[in-house]
């Protein structure tokens, strides 16, 4: 390798870019919903390293605790999964079918921010604070279709 690199690293060739795992089936969809707080609020805090790691073999979420060793239930019948899926579909302006259709998979695979959509403050394990609960979001979303009244015409 070269001994010196230019200070702004502009001469560095990006190594082969790893591709993110896409949502393509029930399991990856469950992981997505759990990871971003749709199944239940997620503690989003750098010091709580494990709680918010994506659950590798997520099956059934217990109240407040996720326990991968739990008996694997048929995912499509898990009410929690269906409920989380419906919430995701509703807030993303998708047909609320409760089933993992293509439109939902596409929406899940869109580039997105890593911050969960539904967070819980670190010290609380019961119901998330009003500011962060999805119900609050649902209220916020009433005018979800309201377009920005005057989108900027000129680029900054």
């Amino acid at each position: 390798e070269k001994l010196f690199h230019s200070r702004d690293r502009s001469d560095l060739q990006p190594s082969a870019i790893e591709q993110a795992e896409l949502v393509k089936d029930m399991l990856s969809a469950q992981q997505f919903l759990a990871k971003y707080g749709w199944t239940q609020p997620v503690i989003w805090d750098p010091s709580s390293t494990n709680e918010n790691e994506p659950l590798k073999d997520f099956s059934l979420m217990q109240e407040g605790v996720c326990n991968p060793r739990q008996e694997v239930a048929e995912p499509t019948k898990s009410p929690q999964f269906i409920d989380a899926l419906k919430k995701f579909q509703k807030l993303n302006n998708l047909p609320v079918t409760g089933t993992l259709d293509d439109a939902t998979i596409n929406a899940m695979n869109k580039p997105r921010c890593g911050v969960p959509d539904n967070q819980m403050a670190k010290k609380e394990t019961e119901k998330p604070t009003a500011a962060q609960s999805l119900e609050n979001k649902t209220k916020d979303s009433e005018n979800v279709t309201q377009q920005n009244p005057d989108p900027p015409k000129i680029r900054r």
């Binding site: 990006p14 918010n52 695979n109 921010c113 500011a131 377009q147 900027p152 015409k153």
Partner: protein, 426 residues
């Protein structure tokens, strides 16, 4: 000991911030936040200057709509830096949440101000039509650091998914109100405010008169878009850049003398005044008699003391009203002298409609608004609307020139926010 002190300080500071956010939703109580690009976290895709430019612009966009300022700080101890930004791939910067490679997650932000961007994503500068706009992602993540969660609303910068944008994006009304719910709206005294009249031909070739509304404070000015209830995107700008030949800060007043026979605009500062050429957008060098500008107020407007606090032109009476301390002077432009019986007390000439609800004196601005067809007196963060003819037709009991009770300027003219001087020239 110094390290332990710093550790104790940051833990204590962190707990205070967590408690603050839980109770109010906002994360910071300070008005000036320091940010820094993490040295070992530069992107491989954009030059450092491009990265810095984009981050400065993203911070500026937020400070244009909220009462906080942001300043890049590359020297203070890390514990005093409020927001740290860096790029990384996979396991990065000691972060507990690894990135996932190209696609899906492009960035995340942590509660205490760390923002990480996935350098496997194809981030691009604002001028590019392709890839993921680093500006938009940075603005989104800064929103998180300030305390906003995801907002599932079309048009919001806080939508979790990245929405490609054909033209530029701006913080819309709902995002502004969301952040202002946490940090309050922008307030503060103005130096002057006025509607600047200009003539132009419409699409049918007819000469039409239009106006822009401007607010001035210190060395900055905003154009206010009355139809959109906000300032022009990208304001404030430096007075020195937008207005030529007048003082670059702390203007006392602007007056537009506009009658059937006269059309002259004047800026006042201290003991002097400048006439402004609206056609050519610059101050006149000299007047009709060859006297050069600036001229002394006492010469151009005999009998008017200076400096003044504010002034406006009453087109019907053809008087310029000059305000100074607790007095108001009426200057007859046709006789070129102070009108009889003046000066008067502002309290007498502009009586309070509600008892004791009156600025008394030392007002900042006297602004006649064509949008509201009314005169407003500003003082500090508040304004008093002067009873207009229309008001008196609806309620004859209102006193002539009466002042309605005070209201907050920020509740009628929205989002007129300072930005940090370091971000003024972008």
């Amino acid at each position: 000991k110094r390290f332990l002190d710093m550790l104790m300080y940051s833990n204590k500071y962190r707990e205070e911030q967590e408690a603050l956010q839980k109770s109010t939703g906002k994360v910071f109580t300070k008005k000036l936040l320091k940010w820094r690009m993490i040295g070992e976290g530069y992107s491989n895709q954009l030059s450092i200057n491009e990265q810095r430019y984009v981050f400065r612009l993203a911070f500026r966009m937020w400070s244009e709509v909220m009462p906080l300022d942001f300043e890049e700080d590359n020297t203070s101890p890390l514990s005093q830096i409020d927001i740290k930004l860096g790029f990384g791939r996979g396991r990065h910067l000691g972060c507990s949440r690894a990135f996932d490679g190209s696609g899906q997650e492009f960035a995340h932000a942590w509660f205490l101000g760390d923002i990480h961007f996935d350098d496997d994503e194809h981030f691009t500068a604002p001028s590019s039509e392709h890839g993921i706009s680093l500006l938009k992602v940075a603005a989104h993540e800064i929103g998180h650091v300030l305390g906003l969660s995801h907002i599932h609303r079309v048009g919001s910068i806080m939508q979790p998914n990245y929405i490609p944008q054909d033209s530029g994006f701006e913080l819309d009304l709902s995002d502004r109100r969301a952040i202002q719910n946490l940090y309050g709206s922008c307030e503060g005294p103005f130096d002057t405010a006025f509607d600047w009249i200009y003539k132009e031909k419409n699409q049918y070739g007819e000469l039409v008169v239009r106006y822009n509304t401007y607010f001035f404070r210190n060395s900055w000015y905003w154009m206010y878009e009355n139809r959109s209830n906000r300032t022009r995107y990208g304001d404030p700008l430096a007075i020195a850049n937008g207005w030529h030949g007048i003082p670059v800060q702390n203007i006392d007043a602007f007056v537009h003398v506009w009658t059937w026979t006269r059309d002259a605009s004047y800026f006042f500062k201290g003991t002097q005044y400048w006439r402004y050429d609206s056609e050519n957008d610059k101050a006149y060098a000299e007047d009709a008699q060859g006297k050069s500008y600036p001229r002394l107020i006492s010469e151009g407007f005999p009998g008017i003391p200076s400096p003044i606090n504010a002034a406006y032109f009453d087109r019907r009476r053809q008087y310029i009203y000059f305000f100074r301390d607790s007095q108001v002077f009426a200057f007859d432009i046709n006789r070129n002298r102070v009108a009889p019986d003046f000066p008067k007390r502002i309290l007498d000439f502009f009586p309070a409609v509600a008892a004791n609800n009156h600025p008394k004196g030392n007002i900042d601005v006297a602004y006649y608004s064509y949008t509201y067809s009314s005169l407003f007196l500003f003082k500090g963060k508040e304004f008093w609307k002067v009873v207009s003819d229309k008001d008196r037709r609806q309620n004859p009991s209102l006193p002539y020139n009466g002042l309605f009770p005070r209201r907050a300027i920020s509740q009628q003219w929205f989002d007129i926010c300072n930005v940090h001087p370091s971000l003024l020239k972008i």
